[in-house]
Subunit: 223 residues, 2 copies
Amino acid sequence: MTTDAGTEVPAGGPAPVTVELLGVLAYGELSAFDRLAEDARAAPTLTGRAQLSAMAAAEIGHFRLVEDHLGGAGVAVADAMAPFTALIDSYHASTAPRSWLESLVKAYLGDGLGADFYREVAGWVDPATGELVRRVLADTGHSAFAEREVRAACEANPHQRDRLALWGRRLLGEAVTHAQRVVAERDELAEFIVGGSGSGGVAGLIRTVQAAHGKRMGRLGLS
Amino acid sequence: MTTDAGTEVPAGGPAPVTVELLGVLAYGELSAFDRLAEDARAAPTLTGRAQLSAMAAAEIGHFRLVEDHLGGAGVAVADAMAPFTALIDSYHASTAPRSWLESLVKAYLGDGLGADFYREVAGWVDPATGELVRRVLADTGHSAFAEREVRAACEANPHQRDRLALWGRRLLGEAVTHAQRVVAERDELAEFIVGGSGSGGVAGLIRTVQAAHGKRMGRLGLS
């Protein structure tokens, strides 16, 4: 049995679409690690650098949960990730932060967007995978740091606030565009989302994610 | 009470020299995270990238143990690290890997050098700090990956082996030079090492570290 993407899935293992979802999730975590680690270098203080580095390290903790889960089902995480690296790299290239505050906003909103999507999906996959996804998405307690830093900067400087609000909206737009490209290339994934989300379909899922994004913008002081 | 480096230490808190040692340890971990994360990007495979990223993340786990320990004693880790960032950054700048294999050799030997030094020191500080240091140095199980990769590359290519052996010796030389500069600038730290190491002094400690380095070179197939 192989997935749309051509990944070998052992007989009796997880459904191919589940492997695809976990492949996207795993590479999402690994690439987020990479971007956060790079952004941490530009931190204005050692404390900020340590905080963003800790956020990056938490992504690897999540990545390893997915790796172990797939490994237990006989699927190498590298194989599951491979079909999705180019598109996720393209998302990050199109949203490279140009400042420390842009890094924090991206870390916070990006984590949230991924979590919204996978929280919906967790109910549509087999129970063991659903449980894994919920563990991976558990808040690691780092978000309070980003909220505090961004809110303080916005309160001190309304012009900064406007620019970051624009940045937050652009991040949503790029994320949706890239997610649509992933789904457009994978019929099974599209069917899976339509089947899971009921009458709402992919568009309904996007609306759910958009609403949650708006609330998160509010918590950063950007709405 | 302040350390040589000027860090405020609360009355009844850890000895100033202990704060200095933990400051070096903490920034050693944070900067190792940063270098490993950058090196992971150059991995030839997704599996290698995930492995080096996991090594980087483990450094942050260690960093946070030190941060919590210092925090419990009323010392901000950023203050404890600040006096040592320039010298440790200088070590990394002088030993920037130019290839994936150089990255692995540096990760493996660098972790080992730090561990050797702190294992000696763990017996000379207060018991709680000694216990912390031993936990921080516990092998995270990532070293087997570096050993395997480097050995395989060396067996396949003796020329590669010679170049990496030279690299391994240079890493030791740079580490010793930089460590000597740290000690030379801090009288209390020098006295602490002389006091702890008995008649061997700083030179004896360096010999101990050198011997262990040679054994590690052997495990990589580089002796």
